[in-house]
Assembly symmetry: C2
Homo-oligomer: 461 residues x 2
């Protein structure tokens, strides 16, 4: 299965939807609607023998009737009928297929799944699924997910690829990713993995120019040795964030019941993660925390962090968090101290953490952030903004975005509050400044970035 | 300072605002506006010698000119003038004072602060501050915080008391608490603690009928032995969630610079927390996680948990999280299994975690939740709802709220997603069902509840 070309399923120019339906709410209807709504630029051919048209698109009674080339078939019909549909597609010259339908291995019918895989192999079709959520490629406005958009939002174009076996976890992650404004290169939910599995996806993404970080959720892997090689290769090029489910004995049993995955020994997985420098997330929250710092911030091989805040308590919490994660408080250079004494009011001490005190405004933040950012003894800057303070308004958001856009060193934000604060937090994130709601998550994420940066640069941790 | 009566500052019938201002945005203006906007039912007397009225309220040039009784003085004038204003208030018979003004110990003027404390003592005034955020008592519509509501939201009435030294952390917490819909009994930010400190607040809250859980943020404590006694007493009656900042050496140094607090040895604090069964939160996120389960859920001395989900992957993650936190997966009784086989479709296995599979609707959830909830071998129920699934809609929210309202055992939710999901999550939380976005935080919070419940019931952990 090596060298599987996922382009056929991710970047088709023409798509047939086998099982297209006129009835709103039906999977075969939602699939057509989502492609239309996404403004997919290629051709869409609904296949339905008893309908004339769906959403203004002419229907075909059979995939082979469609005039011209069909690159991809999305199949959402009864499981028993899928192998034949795939064979027909193969005869038509279709190169990619996504089988949404369930009712295979997971329903106690492994033979039917084998039949499917055999047909795919015979015709050289790149097959995703069966029993999968589908794929999304925002750049191509390609949305092959059967969930309506009101239930699950869709992400913008960007650099993170998500690879998930579980459709449930996949849908949840995609929904959050869209809401939080992550930019996504590819989203791949591969379900039962009859033909394409996590290793294929990783091999493809290692060479995908649009992907700069990969996030993987796994319960178990199909091919251990190939997985090891693929992660090793990918991890040298791009950060690979992984969340492994089924790490406890009971959890592994639940995973087996869920996807028939052999979760295997967690110790063995951890050894692979460690050796290949995968970035392990121990919870969904951590997964999102890590993804956003890796996709937006430059590499950082130093561990000396400056903390700037208008809330002394936050300076204390951030310091605790940094030290506990194994990072260090930077010491400001004599020049930085001098500059701070010159530009700051007397109550502000020229120390790190730098407490700008309660009446700090955007200008004071600007002077402080620039001073810390330019200090060669500072490797990364954390700016904690308490927007509850009356003197601090949205101007500081522009200040932070401006400095961060230089990309010389990581600059991240911590902020927490109600609607006003949340609005500012989202503005920061949508402009590429990761914003954390807790010092703990900020420090932990920064530590992962430092460790990985050292690994790719050859520096020792 | 023992036996300080905080009623004077928390439940006044009449309030003088010394330093009231007609100029919008000024602290002395915001203080009047907030009380008016909150619809404070008592009397409000702005004190300003050069104004006739503010927000339609007659102004007085001096506190002693005010006719009738004044229970509380909120003071927001230049630090140097505060001791005299407090003395005047004392002569008027004022029993409580909140000094918002900064410019005392924290600005290198401990003598001025001592003068203030002396005046308070002389007249028997319960004094909060100086240099504090103020207090909120939602039940009495008493809002003595100088931050405008557009910058920081205000909480509803409920059972959680928050006690904070740091104004910055305090404002952030209050803002989140309001946004997340926590019900608050009292919010006390005591600033420099010239007269009233954390120990006084804890002693008062131990006897406060409206408070069923206390959340404390501290950098250091003023009176170690009294603090130990007060936490011991309170913790036997009500859960006390504590977050300690300045736990590392660098963090302690930052705390000293911030509030001149001697953060002390973290090991010593932890020993106190452990011995007195305080619920230590290691991050702000944990603090909120714990607060919401303790304030809404019944005690729970058993550790056998049922997990119900419409996403198999979530069942795996939740199982991992439970086991890692030291809880157990419950085993369903033969009766429950029989009931499940009768009411569930064939694809649903009668096992825990209970995967209701992708097409589960609210009715299937209802049957499953009731079966698990009634099983005497189940001590707590976690319901994980993936709202991305097309078959699951807001009906399930009512189902969950209904069962949870019986309060026989804890019932908590896990859900994560975009706007649709977030709307459902908030509906759950506003009806007293804590909803977590990650299995890790749900399991960790439940474990804290089990441990504390065992402590108060005398069961061994």
């Amino acid at each position: 299965m090596q060298g599987v070309n996922l382009k056929h399923v991710l970047s088709p120019k023409s798509i047939a939807i086998i099982g297209a339906s006129r009835e709103p709410g039906k999977i075969g209807n939602v699939l057509v609607k989502n492609l239309v709504d996404a403004k997919f630029s290629g051709k869409i051919f609904p296949v339905n023998p008893s309908a004339e048209s769906i959403y203004g698109l002419k229907c075909y009674s059979d995939v082979r009737e469609i005039p011209g080339t069909v690159d991809l078939a999305i199949i959402a019909i009864h499981a028993e009928l899928v192998p034949e549909a795939l064979t027909e597609s193969g005869k038509k010259g279709v190169k990619g297929a996504i089988v949404i339908s369930g009712g295979f291995s997971e329903a106690g019918k492994p033979e039917l799944e084998k039949e499917l895989a055999k047909a795919a192999k015979k015709f050289g079709i790149t097959l995703i699924g069966p029993n999968c959520l589908g794929v999304v490629n925002p750049k191509e406005k390609m949305d092959a997910i059967f969930i309506p958009t009101y239930k699950m939002e869709r992400p913008n174009e960007g650099g993170i690829a998500f690879v998930k076996q579980s459709g449930a976890i996949g849908s949840m992650i995609l929904d959050v990713v869209a809401r939080e404004g992550f930019g996504v290169s590819k989203f791949i939910s591969y379900g039962n993995a009859a033909a394409v599995d996590e290793t294929d996806a990783l091999e493809f993404l290692a060479n995908d120019a649009e992907t700069n970080i990969v996030v993987l959720y796994i319960e178990g892997v199909k091919r251990g040795i190939e997985f090891f090689k693929a992660t090793k290769k990918l991890s040298k090029r791009k950060p690979l964030v992984v969340i492994k489910a089924g790490v406890t004995e009971k959890g592994a049993a639940a995973a087996k019941s869920h996807t028939a995955a052999l979760a295997g020994s967690y110790a063995a997985y951890r050894a692979v993660f460690k050796q290949n420098r995968l970035i392990e997330a121990r919870s969904l929250d951590e997964m999102f925390d890590y993804a956003k710092i890796f996709t937006t911030q430059p590499r950082c091989t130093g561990d000396r962090v400056a903390v700037i805040t208008n809330g002394g308590g936050m300076g204390v919490l951030a310091t605790d968090a940094l030290v506990e994660e194994g990072l260090r408080l930077a010491e400001f250079s004599p020049e930085t101290r001098k500059l701070l004494r010159k530009t700051m009011p007397p109550l502000v001490k020229d120390e790190n953490p730098l407490d700008l005190v309660g009446d700090a405004d955007a200008e004071r933040f600007e002077a402080a952030i620039k001073a810390a950012y330019e200090d060669s003894g500072v490797d990364a800057v954390i700016v904690s903004t308490l927007f509850q303070r009356v003197s601090l308004d949205s101007h500081v958001v522009d200040v932070i975005i401006n400095v961060a856009s230089r990309k010389k060193k990581p600059l991240i934000n911590i902020t927490l509050g109600g609607e006003y604060t949340e609005t500012q937090r989202r503005a920061l994130e949508s402009s590429g400044v990761p914003s954390y709601t807790s010092p703990t998550s900020a420090a932990r994420s920064l530590k992962k970035l430092v460790d990985y940066s050292r690994f790719v640069s050859g520096k020792k941790n």
